[in-house]
Amino acid sequence: MAITDLELHSFVRLPTIADVLQTLADRHAASQKTVVLAGGTDWVVEQEMAPPHKPGAELPMVVDISRLSDLQTIHLNGNLLTIGAAATYLQLRRHPHIGMGDKRAALLARMAQDLGALQIQARGTLGGNLATGSPAADGVAALMAYDASVVLQSVRGERTVPITEFQTGYKKSVRAPDEIITQFQISLPTHYNWYWRKVGTRRAQAISKVALAGVAVVESGQIQRIGLGMASVAPVTAALRNTRSYLCSAPLHKLTGAELDAAVNSDCSPIDDVRSTRQYRAHCARVVVREFARSLGAPV
């Protein structure tokens, strides 16, 4: 049903993170449904696709977190980059340490530029991207390449989870119903190579058929540290563990294309769907990993 036909939800905008957490806790304790809303670019679309609510059915209360400035701050402290969960893609693109200035985390800006189109980038957030749990999430792939940590908060306290452990299955995660994602923490290498490639048919408003984010620290001809995140090749964002270990296993010049392909194949389980085919996705997964490895000096 059309968005204009959505049932009226109760909608609140609370002054502080603490208020949001308290509301979540209280409502959860009373078995009442609550949705935190950031950009709304996933949630509203999901409502449109959902069947109509039965009369009298309980609707979730919507708590808007998009204007909580504490959730939007981005700052760099030494090598530690902290990004508020409700910072928008446009904020990333315009930030002096990300898309502008010294571009210490240029990968995030490059990814953001390919996400949806400008309208979506002005509203969408990394927190929403991760919480939705889609394996096609471009932002999550980039966060995974940086081996980011996810900071979760509730009235019960704060905890930090490695991004690779956040998703536990298709649309499932470790987040408890009374928790919100408050920020992402990234420990930036001083010098590193990065890679971003989205394969998605058209230049804007494209859901990734395959996307690869990569971060690598190369010293004396060998990869010392590698981070990879790949979208749309598995039920959750793929960390490509075998590929990571293969790439670090030997000096770059000893890596071979065939072995690299085999590692990528073992890390991916793409499917056929309306957007693409299993074979094409598997092929592109190999192609983009090779391209990244090649850019680092591997003869693949």
Binding site: M1, A2, P51, P52, T201, R202, V274, Y280
Partner: protein, 752 residues
């Protein structure tokens, strides 16, 4: 201030701003869903078949659902259960036989829109499934008869030369056997969804004056005809009005009759106004799309490239019902031999029924499918001959005095060569073609061209039967009002008609009004289709405006005063000053409908499109990097709008070639959403380099305008495919050219 003819500044040829531009941009234009709710209004919804073919055994209404405020309409409530079009094979609501998925079966209405959606879920259909026919090849075998006696909805045969005088098959085979070089191939093209921005929608109600429907539509009189048939009302009691329409591309030619009938049926039964608006999913699933086509071609030519003979068979997928398929097939067949001269030709075209939603009108109307085939084929002939394809096209292109496959002698407004040479020059085709033929890296470049023509106006004697009418009225103060059923659906009719009238009557543009197309108030100008609006209806409007202008000026000469004063005197004296005229086609047109021979169209518009692409040879993503075109429009009444039509049409064709693909699973569409039915975005549009060529057609308005609406859809796909083929060196005979398909056809794809 006097307004003599000497003061009039011509507007034709100037890119005046669009009359409908401001209200659309600032949001005051009212599309059908923006019209204020009428008192007591209900929302309508449709229960559709989930299967492509079967027998409806029963309809069950969940007894636990509260039906008290729901209006229910089934086939039993339809006075005459057929949608009036060419044939009467399509029911308004399926009663027993179900012939395609999404076929409407039950209509529901309720004041609460959410309740009507819940009610939909409370209806269950008991359907006994029958074996299905889902493509033309299956349909041709006729293992299961799903339409008529043999699944064949329509057949045409066009013959020329020896194929015309002897038994056509053995004659053409004999001619081909004698040719020095023979080439054969088959080429397929796929469905395309119009994807107008505004989905289909209608508001219908009954009152003491009869039945009313206002909606997003191209052809108010088609809906009028459908109401006449189904409701059996007096013509004067049926009032069909076009609301501001957000695009049509042919998709709102015949389909609006169905949604309007549905809304009016619900309104009749409930006694309340009913609003029916499709969402995107329902629109993509249930409404018409471009006919898929499969074409086999065999041609013969001399070693030096002189084309001699063509034998071609076109199979088009009509879908479950006839709708406008015979006309689409006709235009496809008439464009099948391309922009080239053949001594001998045999073109057979068949439309076949399948258990898929009926295919229908879509910009180009069958021509893009056959032009796709012939252009790809000529490129193949060039490859066999070792000749440059554009050179081969140049050598064989129809010129003044040439004779087409139907025997039409082209004696006016022929600009194929000029378009070809202009596009070739601005694109630096020869240099690029050579450069990109060198060895390529990961990013391969290619360039390719399509040369084509498109007949403007109705086929053959169509306009003679149709007798399109339009009127210009004189209003107080010397204003003029155009009354026509030709609708502005975003393509700019209103603006261009005002320009034509302004110049013909010599009045300022701001003094010309355009009446809302409502069947009660405007004459039947014929449908807004077939690239006929400007060329045909525009010329009626022009003559009518000239007549009214002359009458006022005569009065001015007789008794003085300004144009406005003379107009007021005339109105005071005569009450009504109107010129209502009927179209008379050029007298030279001779057409034999029986043998499909003669002047297929009063004239053709011509074009050459050249596409340049970059293909990533690993991911098979294609980027169109440049798009050059030279298009003969006769006379560009509004050059900016003309360019808009050309560039928009070309982009729609690029989308058809590279991105768009309906994914089917046993007759069901798997991607009925804008997120997965991929059309190009603004960022995918290449830089367009558009040259307008003006080779006037003496019967066209404004000094010789020809039809331009459909032409740009014809050449984009074959030009892009030629460029991709040039870049990759893999034959591109089947649409679409999605990365997945290119990959599967490539060597790396073949290995996996």
């Amino acid at each position: 201030m006097s307004q003599g003819p000497s003061q009039h500044l011509p507007t034709v040829g100037k890119s005046v701003p669009r009359a409908d531009g401001t209200p659309k941009v600032i949001g005051t234009a009212r599309y059908v869903d923006d019209l204020p709710a009428m008192p007591g209004e209900l929302h309508g919804a449709t229960v559709r078949s989930p299967v492509p073919r079967g027998i409806l055994k029963s309809i069950r209404f969940d007894p636990n659902f509260d039906w008290s405020d729901i209006t229910i309409v089934t086939a039993e409530d339809v006075p005459l259960n057929t949608v009036a079009l060419i044939a009467e094979d399509q029911p308004v609501l399926a009663a027993r036989h179900i012939n395609h998925a999404y076929e409407p079966i039950v209509l529901l209405a309720c004041a609460d829109k959410r309740r009507v959606l819940l009610a939909k879920n409370a209806v269950s259909l008991d359907i006994e499934a029958l074996p299905t026919v889902l493509d033309v090849h299956e349909s041709l075998k006729n293992t299961h008869t799903v339409w008529g006696t043999d699944n064949i909805q329509k057949r045409y045969l066009i013959t020329k030369g020896r194929a015309d005088t002897e038994d056509s098959v053995s004659a053409i085979d004999a001619v081909l056997a004698e040719c020095e070089v023979r080439v054969s191939g088959s080429y397929s093209s796929h469905h395309q969804e119009q994807l107008y921005i505004e989905p289909q929608g209608v508001v219908a109600w009954w009152d003491e004056s009869g039945v009313h429907a206002t909606g997003s539509l191209q052809c108010p009189f088609y809906v009028h005809k459908a109401f006449l048939k189904t409701f059996g009302e007096q013509p004067s009691r049926i009032h069909i009005t076009q609301a501001v329409t957000g695009g049509g591309f042919g998709g709102k030619e015949e389909y609006p009759s169905i949604i309007a009938l549905h809304a009016a049926l619900l309104s009749k039964k409930s006694g309340k106004p009913v609003r029916m608006i499709y969402d995107r999913k329902e629109d993509i699933e249930a409404t018409t799309k471009r006919h898929p086509a499969f074409c086999e071609i065999e041609t013969g030519c001399d070693k030096d490239g002189k084309l001699r003979a063509i034998k071609m068979r076109v199979l088009m997928d009509g879908g479950a019902y006839l709708t406008l398929t015979p006309v689409v097939l006709s235009r496809g067949a008439l464009h099948a031999s391309g922009a080239y001269e053949w001594e001998h030709a045999r073109i057979e075209a068949l439309a076949l029924a399948t258990n898929t939603p009926p295919n229908g009108a879509f910009r180009g109307f069958g021509a893009p499918q056959t032009i796709w085939a012939i252009e790809r084929h000529i490129d193949k002939v060039a490859a066999v001959l070792g000749m440059d394809p554009l050179e081969l096209k140049r050598k064989n292109i129809l010129k003044l005095g040439s004779v087409t496959a139907t025997g039409q002698v082209l004696h006016t407004s022929v600009a194929g060569v000029e378009c070809l040479e202009k596009a070739r020059a601005v694109s630096e085709y020869d240099r690029r073609r050579k450069a990109y033929s060198e060895k390529q890296g990961r990013i391969a470049r290619g360039i390719g061209a399509a040369v084509f023509m498109h007949g403007a106006g109705f086929t053959g004697s169509g306009e003679r039967y149709l007798k399109g009418k339009a009127a210009v009225d004189l209003l107080p103060g010397g204003r003029l009002r155009i009354r026509t059923a030709s609708t502005d659906i975003g393509q700019g009719t209103e603006t261009v008609f005002r320009q034509i009238v302004s110049d013909a009557a010599q009045v300022p543009l701001s003094d010309v009004d355009f009446a809302v197309p409502c069947t009660t108030h405007v004459p039947d100008s014929g449908p807004t289709v077939a690239s006929r609006t400007v060329m045909v209806v525009g010329s009626i409007v022009e003559a009518a405006a000239r007549e009214v202008g002359d009458r006022v000026r005569k009065e001015q000469q007789a008794s003085g005063g300004t144009f406005a004063e003379a107009a007021d005197r005339l109105l005071a004296r005569e009450g009504e000053v109107t010129s209502l005229l009927q179209y008379s086609p050029p007298s030279y047109i001779q057409w034999d409908d029986q043998h499909y021979r003669g002047d297929a169209y009063p004239c053709f518009a011509w074009a050459c499109f050249i596409a340049e692409v970059e293909v990533d040879r690993e991911t098979f993503e294609v980027t169109v990097t440049n798009f050059w075109s030279a298009t003969d429009v006769g006379r560009a009444i509004n050059p900016t709008q003309c360019r808009g039509q050309i560039e928009g049409g070309a982009l729609q064709a690029i989308g058809w070639a590279l991105f768009e693909e309906l994914v089917w699973d046993k007759g069901i569409i798997k991607n009925p959403r804008m997120t997965n039915y991929i059309v190009p975005t603004a960022l995918d549009a290449p830089p367009f380099h558009t040259v307008l060529v003006e080779e006037p057609f003496s019967f066209g308005p404004g000094g010789g305008a020809k039809g331009i609406g459909e032409l740009p859809m014809d050449g984009g796909a074959p030009a892009v495919a030629a460029a991709v083929e040039h870049a990759l060196g893999i034959p591109m005979d089947d649409l679409p050219l999605t990365p997945e398909r290119l990959f599967a056809r490539s060597a790396s794809g073949a290995q996996t």
